[in-house]
Amino acid sequence: MLRSSLVALFAFASVGSTQDVNEANEQAMKAAIAKAAPWVVKIETAGGTGAVGAAGGPASVRKGVGPTSGVVVGADGFVISSAFNFANKPTDIFITVPGHPRQVAKIVANDTSRMLTLLKVDLKGLAVPAAFPKAEIKVGMWTLALGRALDNEDGKTPSVSRGIVSATDRIWGKLTQTDCKVSPINYGGPLVAVDGRVMGVLVPASPNGEGESAGVEWYDGGIGFAVPLDDINAILPRLKEGKELRRGMLGFNPKTPDELYNVPVIVGNVAPQSVAEKIGMKPNDKITTLDGKPVENFKDLMMLLGPKYDGDKITLTVERDGKTETFKDVTLGGISATISQPFLGILPMRDDPEPGVEVRYVYPKSPADIAGIQEGDRIMKFGPSAAPMLTPITTGRTQLSQIVRAAPLSLDFKVELKRKAGAKVEVVTLKLAALGEELPDKTPPKSSLERALGKEKKENDKELEVGFKYDLANKTTGRKYWMYLPDNYDKNKSYGVIVWLHDAGKGGKEREGKDVFKIWETYCDSANFILIGPQAKNGVDWVANETEELTQTIQQAIAGFTIDRSRVVVHGMGNGGSMAMYLAFNARDLIRAAVVSGAVLNGNAKDNLPNQPLSFYVVAGDKDPLIKEIKDTNEKLKAKKFPVIFRELKDFGKEYLDQKTLTEICNWLDALDRI
């Protein structure tokens, strides 16, 4: 008897003392939740582009449309949230601050570097959270992730997930990592320390992607991220003024961009008109310090530069010819959006094996026209006026196009011509222009010299099956598609490719493919295009993560034909158009243009890259409820200096195209190899 009571006593002692520790932690955390609760707001949205998981982000997770969360950051009604919560461009946003009735909210500004959105409601005297100092955030500290999407029945207490700080300074020094369950249930909500102070604001993030939904695929996976509140407070004044914050950039590529650790940062290309060019950085400069901190490799540089914004000032030292050069108070630029594609103003003759490039057409008032270049002239050499020698054009229009695209707009260039009349050789001088909305004022009849495969013409293969073929499937990926190979296909001519991406719910129907084929058949025959209509993997709608496989399917479908790489185009309407733009930005080796109707670009446009040019033709109906978003799409593309043609059709809603626009698109498509 005595013994058993002893056992009981011992057992009590051992359990009792440990439970006190847990009890104390549990109670402290509940007190922290109660303290932070008034700062956590609920955000509800209506309208917007809805379930286009397709074109925004990684897509096993569709973009949610349910309620989300935010954190009060200004007593006068400012709320910060994750940009993810607005990725579907809602038309209406409502915010419920605890203790207040629901309010209409407006977006004030976005931070596209840390993927935050600042909102404003008409309330005053709100409680503002105390920030847990960023410098004191240490791995292993308890954390609580709070959200409003699934808050408690009492209406006061937010939802909670408990965890610890997993790491600090993640994703180029921008984010704190936690093992709390972070998902659309609490994106935008606070990550709270055990004392109730706010460490940061929860966002999806991934080291491998940009955009407001990158990293969503990790939801609830024990890998969650928060933007430190200290960092947010530092940028709040700028956001409150309505300034859109972007990542700060210098504007150069390192010589070895894939090598993060083992080699010093040596400047490779300096982008034209970039900050790097303006301050006088040169190829082969070795970057040694940034803001006084040593830069030993590209990772060091990214960690120091990653948290900076467009407009921030830095001090940089480089080693050049054994000497140290210092660049003081350099103001960083936004993403290298300032690069326009240079334009000479000609259409080249295709499928021409001879040296030089025959001018098929001259754009009126273009640099070529002003310099007196005429149809039928042959461009033999090209180069900067200051260069001792001009570069001979030996490999045709591809070579000329590359040279022109890489040429700065500020310099004078010389073009050596062999005139059509009299085969006289002349040299003209010109300045290139920025490529914009130029359209040929006529369709030049002849486009090809039909010698794509060399000086000798080749016979078509005997087994070649031309015409419309439905129900094809890729052998490795299994993806279904239909295809039209023009009846008059001739392997001596190079063919453009039009990839039709069906609208949501329209895929896999033979009827849809045939309708599209009938519209485009004549044009494909006359302008030398192959038409191909792949089907979304799930048969209904596009998801972003099928991009790679879709690209593979297209590549393999056109393999074996004579393809003009400068005229590979994606085309679609509605969600198909959104996917077309997404594909254009993510398969840049392949796609040169996108023609979209009634389609919204989700997320931001990527940068205009000189060696992977992209052009856009955007059609909107003025009665389309998404007209505002489509206009935004046009603005976003133009802001990145992409050549965009935007057409708003009167009395049009969700229809495909009218005849006039279709004709114009045909002319535009034929001119995609413009130089």
């Binding site: 003392s17 209506a46 939802s159 909670v160 369950k181």
Partner: protein, 376 residues
């Protein structure tokens, strides 16, 4: 007797000589909880339905609670006890409104409603019910045979986590294709995996809080959710035509007396709902916002709503599109009053509308969705 002392003394010694935070209090609790849990094997193994699940003992003679899953659709259920014994069990009664089933272990030679003669460790449901509801932030443990990791005498998988919220899942929080509409405990551990349904959610001390539910997805946020049905669950429903409150405690106490009758769930007939008198902008998008385009003269809305108002909430639930407005209205009837919140400029206006009968010739031409099949 002597043997039993040793481990306790050792444990005490360990605690005394080490910092308290290094102790492992879950060890003992999990041993105690495991004795009260069973692994259930039934039908399934096809079309994504697993043939195993978890249950908890709630009486010494072998009553078991679990989730009313398809795994139970068989005459032969096999139970594995914590000590490795293998026994048969039968379903006593299920309540689809609660999504819970009551089972009893069948001892050969005994009828199911006779005392089984067993004396098993069990959770005292009535005692557990007396404890307060768990709150957001409470630390919890989940016990289940998820993924059929354990068989026979192997213990359940234990997970630790936190109560995220005590809340209803439907309506303003999301869309769930799920029969149970009462409050749940949402937890931040990934507890709801295949075979976990019917597992135990307990507090840090092993006291029963609820029954781990199914794998369900919130179709609004497209996220999986981990939840348990609390012991005090109550659901307002209808038994035939009469309003009825289905309660989990009553299900358990009457069920163990073989007296519980599941409610006769009414068939929900979808109609066009009550007449409000608003016409919206053309619905050509998947998510066209419900902007008022026109008001029928002398209709309930005609004096209160204005053209260009945006209907944003009905009875507190967010309205995302014309489609979600129509879906909501189908549940209404003439004579009911609904509370609208409409966006007018930069303000939200609250408007109460008393719905009327549809005037002749005005009934919406949009085809109604198919009525659901009557409950089995």
């Amino acid at each position: 007797m002597f043997r039993r002392i040793v481990p306790a003394v050792l444990a005490f010694g360990l605690v005394a000589s080490m910092p308290v935070s290094a102790a492992e209090p879950v060890t003992k609790v999990s041993e105690q909880v495991n004795e009260k849990m069973v692994k259930i094997f039934g039908s399934g193994g096809f079309k994504g339905v697993v043939n195993y699940t978890t249950g908890i003992l709630i009486s010494p003679d072998g009553f078991i609670l679990t989730v009313a899953s398809q795994t139970l659709d068989t005459s032969e259920l096999i139970i594995h006890m914590y000590d490795g014994r293998k026994m048969k069990a039968v379903v006593v009664v299920t309540e689809p409104v609660l999504d819970i089933a009551l089972l009893k272990i069948k001892v050969d030679g005994k009828k199911i409603d006779e005392p089984s003669g067993l004396d098993l460790p069990y959770f005292n449901y009535a005692e557990s019910l007396k404890r307060p509801i768990a709150e957001a932030g409470d630390w919890v443990l989940g016990f289940s045979n998820q993924f059929e990791i354990a068989t026979r005498n192997e213990p359940m998988s234990v997970q630790q986590g936190t109560i995220s919220s005590y809340a209803k899942l439907h309506g303003r929080r999301g869309i769930f294709d799920f029969p149970y509409t009462g409050n749940v405990y949402v937890v931040d551990a990934i507890t709801n995996n295949p075979g976990a349904g019917g597992g135990a959610l307990t507090d840090r001390k092993g006291q029963l809080l609820g029954i781990i539910g199914r794998e369900i997805k919130n179709t609004l946020s497209e996220t999986w959710i981990n939840y348990a049905i609390p012991l005090n669950a109550k659901v307002e429903t209808k038994d035939g035509d009469k309003p009825k409150i289905v309660s989990f405690p009553e299900f358990v106490s009457l069920g163990m007396q073989f007296k519980y009758k599941p409610v006769d769930r009414p068939v929900v007939v979808l109609t066009a709902g009550g007449f409000h008198g608003m016409r919206f902008v053309p619905n050509i998008l998947e998510r066209t916002p419900p902007y008022v385009d026109e008001l029928y003269p002398n209709s309930p809305a005609s004096k209160l709503v204005q053209v260009n108002d945006l209907v944003s909430f009905i009875d507190g639930e967010p309205i995302y599109s014309i489609k979600s407005f129509n879906d909501y209205m189908r549940k209404t009837r003439p004579g009911m009053t609904i509370r609208l919140e409409v966006r007018r400029g930069d303000n939200l206006q609250t408007i109460e509308l008393k719905l009327e009968e549809w005037p002749k010739g005005l009934l919406p031409t949009v085809p109604l969705p198919k009525n659901p099949d009557p409950p089995k």
